[in-house]
């Protein structure tokens, strides 16, 4: 079958990109290898590990389970857009550093994207709620405890900053 191409235009971390893509190009591959935003990681390509989690219009989704063509006209956020322009870490990133919430760091971008969205929706979560929110992201290194602690601390820091 002839490859079938689509012109797409999308915004990633506020920057507009226009590209032609083959229908079957996964959004994860598109971000990583076409836009060279390689911070979004790929661990399974079947939706389970969560490493590829990004935000589409603010909601965390698996970029390995979307086609690049489907991102046409959408607003995406990836880990590269979390820290501010001056390089200051997002409170969730900072808390992960402070609490040793990452080891190999491969799962980390997906966790950051999942949890920044979660904490926006639930700024004062219980530990159990944090664990539930995290359960769609596998980490093989940390045993999660320090990630959970980081999220509780980040939530608190963000609440403090907001008030």
């Amino acid at each position: 079958m002839q490859p079938d191409h689509h012109d797409i235009e999308l915004k990633v971390n506020g920057t507009t990109h226009r590209r032609g893509v083959e229908s079957r190009m996964l959004l994860s591959d598109f971000l990583r290898h076409e836009l060279l935003l390689a911070g979004t990681h790929v661990g399974c390509e079947h939706g389970v590990c969560g490493a590829c989690t990004i935000l589409v219009n603010g909601a965390p989704v698996r970029s390995c389970l979307m086609l690049a063509a489907q991102a046409n006209g959408q607003q995406l956020s990836t880990v590269e857009g979390l820290a501010n322009d001056t390089g200051e870490l997002h409170p969730v990133q900072q808390a992960m550093h402070d609490h040793h919430g990452l080891q190999c760091g491969y799962c980390t971008p997906g966790i950051l994207m999942t949890m920044t969205a979660f904490l926006k929706e639930n700024p004062a979560p219980s530990e159990e709620e944090v664990r539930e929110a995290l359960s769609g992201n596998l980490c093989r290194c940390t045993g999660y405890q320090n990630i959970v602690d980081a999220m509780m601390a980040a939530a608190q820091a963000m609440r403090a900053a907001a008030s």
């Binding site: 083959e22 079957r24 190009m25 990583r32 290898h33 060279l36 935003l37 390689a38 911070g39 979004t40 990681h41 790929v42 661990g43 399974c44 390509e45 079947h46 939706g47 389970v48 590990c49 490493a51 990836t78 880990v79 590269e80 979390l82 820290a83 870490l89 990133q93 992960m96 550093h97 402070d98 040793h100 990452l102 080891q103 190999c104 760091g105 491969y106 799962c107 980390t108 971008p109 950051l112 944090v130 664990r131 539930e132 995290l134 359960s135 769609g136 992201n137 596998l138 980490c139 093989r140 290194c141 940390t142 045993g143 999660y144 405890q145 320090n146 990630i147 959970v148």
Partner: protein, 782 residues
């Protein structure tokens, strides 16, 4: 030396890159003109290859080349034996190592048959469908006992059996022990470990630079120097022409040290042939077959004890599944054999194992590396003996611990590093006490448990001990260099996969050189930055490379002091090195910055004095005489739903002694992660093969890695008994978290369930709710 950083919970230098998506992982390597590789892998476990036809694949647009075993010509060779068999008398070892592409026969599902090189991975995968393979399917060897039976087919036809190895090790006289014993217990134990399943799979990128006659390979390996040396030999290049870079690696846990994987052999060679850079990234499906497993053993084990529960002797005969090939030698079963002895005085030991070839993926070490299997057997035997003798499970352990004055303690048999198994140091009882205290052992048993049981709740307590042989040789090296800008660079040859080496090595160097940790840049895993080394395995990185860093930094410190004393025309004793400068004691305004000293050490004019070297740098090596033995105790309180057998962990405690601690924050992380993998192994992760050698759950939806909801909060405590085997006194800790979780769960679940029913004995790992249902039902049957 001041120890401002050593021992402190210093935050990690490497985090920022990782947190902002800027760290380079293998799949992030993009090279102009790069082609993509996919492997055609066997769908069946055992078959004779009749014919492979790649002609259709070659015609597909976008396909650049296709290779089968025949195309590799003289390059096709079985891989090297990584670890030769240790010097044990009477040992049988039949070496059969993996091949780059299957030639006459396929021996496990996933074994590669052909390689497609294409313009994209998508097209390469399309072309896999175009290849026609004609196979004569053979019966598969899956069951270990059947595999040794006379009617079994053979994985390696020329061998005449499926015996990969046979080893017996003896200490004392077991028959005597039995004669003296008040109780002898015998059981059969099944222990299966799974796959390490790092969230990043493996990958290789190879780039041949014809102009420079230079091969560069990016590889997710834990041992870049060995890969460099091996590749140079295979490709007919000198080591200097090959550069291997292990970039940031997304978790390893053992299997990423295996070598040579077929992909590591194939890509560099093809890159030379095509003169194009190539990339292969293992996908998750491939990972289930193409990366090594650890899997199972069956132990028939016997313990002889006196009436007080003191161990008189242990006899063990076990079978070990080595998979289709045995490139890693005997490391896993020898570890099982040795670690079974645990922290206990075992006067007599008679242990025999047979390693069996099967038509299943290759077995090599995965975090714990066979130690789990041995620990499961001894811990369960002690529980059974305790039950028979009506001794408290914690007490029977206490009675058998090696006393603190008995170190160094020789276990007489030979360990994986070829040295006699000798524990360097330890103080075991305080570790046990601390664990019991932290988990609230007595209170739980006496008060809480009876109360909860009265409410119909099935709650149980478990406590398990283990030792972990760590930090084995041969050696590692480190180069420490002060840069002109005052920054310190540390280079070592090991690869790193999240263990925090960028920080712990920086802490060591920072203390020696009086700079801030953030001023130290650590480079690991690039053979052009550091030439020699062995790799990250057996919890050795921190111990062996850490000590090398310390030695090198110490020499640089001496050089700095010497240069400064020349400059100030004072004695070295009058100098302090701190805050990135050397100053005269009591006259802080009289100082020279380290960076300036580095410049002075590389003068533009004048001669370098004979016997001295330019630069403020040093390279040192460290090789421990033998491994350091860490130890620990885990304790758990858990609850089982009596009807559904679902499990909930109520409290989890780890008390650990790994000698001097470089960074307690990183250590805690290692333990948390180990426990999480241990929990996966004990209750969630099971490789389910059918009798044809097909893996029935090759996806992360069905191979169940624990999530944040399965892993509990852990309480950690430490006891410190420094190792006498290295100047820093450290012992490794990488595997400690994972080792004793199986027996711990078995003990605690039994304790939870065995109320008002016939006793269930849990003699296998992994367990699951369904399995617990079956086992209790069998036990309940009249």
């Amino acid at each position: 030396m001041t120890t401002r950083f050593f021992g402190a919970p210093i935050k990690r230098n490497e985090d920022k890159k990782l947190l902002t998506g800027q760290a380079l992982f293998i799949d992030d390597v993009e090279l102009p003109g790069m082609l993509h590789v996919a492997f055609l892998r066997s769908q069946v476990a055992h078959a004779r290859i009749q014919h492979i036809d790649v002609s259709r694949a070659l015609k597909r647009p976008g396909v650049v080349a296709v290779f089968t075993a025949d195309d590799l010509g003289a390059y096709w060779k079985p891989g090297p034996l990584l670890v030769p068999p240790p010097p044990i008398s009477g040992i049988v070892f039949n070496q059969r190592t993996q091949v780059p592409l299957a030639k006459d026969k396929v021996r496990h599902v996933g074994e590669p048959l052909a390689i497609v090189v294409a313009e994209s991975r998508y097209i390469a995968e399309d072309a896999l469908d175009d290849i026609e393979v004609d196979l004569e399917i053979l019966r598969a060897v899956v069951d270990l006992e059947h595999g040794l039976g006379t009617s079994s087919v053979h994985v390696h036809d020329d061998l005449g059996s499926n015996i990969s190895a046979h080893v017996r090790q003896i200490k004392g006289d077991y028959r005597c022990a039995v004669a003296k014993a008040d109780l002898v217990l015998k059981r059969r134990f099944h222990y299966e470990h799974g796959i390490s399943s790092p969230i990043e799979t493996r990958g290789v990128v190879a780039q041949w630079n014809a102009r420079g006659s230079q091969m560069t390979v990016w590889d997710t390996t834990q041992a870049p120097v060995f890969i460099r040396n091996g590749l140079a030999a295979m490709l007919g290049l000198s080591e200097r022409q090959v550069r291997v870079i292990a970039p940031f690696v997304g978790g390893g846990f053992g299997p990423k040290i295996m070598m040579f994987y077929p992909e590591e052999v194939a890509l560099p060679w093809i890159s030379m042939r095509l003169n194009r850079p190539l990339k292969w990234i293992e996908d998750r499906l491939e990972h289930f077959f193409a990366t090594t497993h650890e899997r199972g053993q069956i132990h028939d084990a016997e313990i002889a004890v006196d009436s007080q529960g003191r161990i008189l002797g242990i006899k063990d005969v076990f079978l070990h599944d080595t998979g289709a090939y045995n490139p890693y030698g005997l490391t896993v079963p020898i570890n099982s054999q040795c670690t079974l002895l645990g922290p206990y005085v075992v006067p007599a030991y008679d242990s025999t194992f047979t390693a069996v070839f099967t038509n299943l993926p290759i077995v090599t070490p995965y975090r714990g590396a066979g130690r789990q299997h041995g620990v499961f057997v001894i811990e369960r035997l002690l529980d059974l003996a305790a039950g028979e003798l009506n001794i408290d499970p914690a007490e029977i352990r206490r009675r058998n611990l090696i006393p603190p004055d008995a170190f160094p303690y020789s276990n007489e048999i030979i360990y994986q590093d070829f040295q006699p198994l000798e524990y360097d140091s330890g103080n075991y009882e305080p570790v046990l006490d601390k664990a019991l205290e932290t988990v609230g052992y007595n209170h739980f048993i006496k008060h809480e448990q009876p109360k909860l049981r009265a409410q119909g709740r099935c709650v149980g307590m478990g406590v398990a001990c283990y030792v972990e042989g760590t930090g084995i040789g041969p050696y590692e090296g480190a180069k420490v260099q002060v840069q002109a800008n005052g920054k310190v660079s540390v280079a070592t040859g090991i690869g790193t996969q999240g263990q925090g080496h960028f920080t712990s090595f920086a802490q060591i160097a920072a203390d020696q050189l009086g700079v801030d940790v953030t001023e130290v840049d650590v480079v690991t895993g690039d053979t052009d930055q550091f030439y020699w080394g062995a790799g990250t395995f057996a919890s050795r990185g921190a111990v062996v490379a850490g000590n090398a860093v310390n030695e090198a930094a110490r020499v640089v410190r001496q050089k700095a002091l010497k240069l400064a004393s020349d400059a100030f025309e004072c004695s070295e004793d009058d100098l302090v090195i701190a805050d990135g400068k050397v100053s005269i004691v009591g006259i802080p305004q009289k100082f020279i910055r380290l960076g300036e000293l580095a410049q002075r050490a590389n003068p533009m004019r004048g001669a370098v004095k004979p016997g001295t070297e330019p630069g403020l740098e040093a390279t040192q090596y460290f090789g421990p005489p033998s491994g350091a033995t860490a130890n620990g105790v885990h304790a758990v309180i858990l609850e089982i739903d009596p009807l559904t057998f679902e499990l909930k962990i109520l409290k989890y405690v780890v008390v650990h002694d790994c000698g001097t601690v470089i960074n307690p924050m990183i250590l805690a992380g290692q333990i948390h992660g180990g426990v999480a993998q241990g929990i996966g192994n004990a209750f969630y992760e099971k490789l389910s093969f059918d009798d044809q050698g097909q893996l029935l759950n090759a996806s992360l939806a069905d191979y169940l890695l624990p999530t944040a909801l399965e892993v509990p909060r852990m309480e950690l405590a430490h006891i410190t008994t420094p190792s006498p085997l290295n100047p820093l006194g450290i012992k490794g800790a990488g595997e400690a978290g994972a080792i004793p979780v199986g027996p711990l769960f078995a003990q605690a679940i039994e304790n939870a369930l065995n109320v008002g029913r016939k006793k269930v004995e849990l003699l296998e790992i992994p367990l699951s709710p369904s399995r617990l249902f079956e086992l209790t039902r069998m036990a309940d049957q009249p």
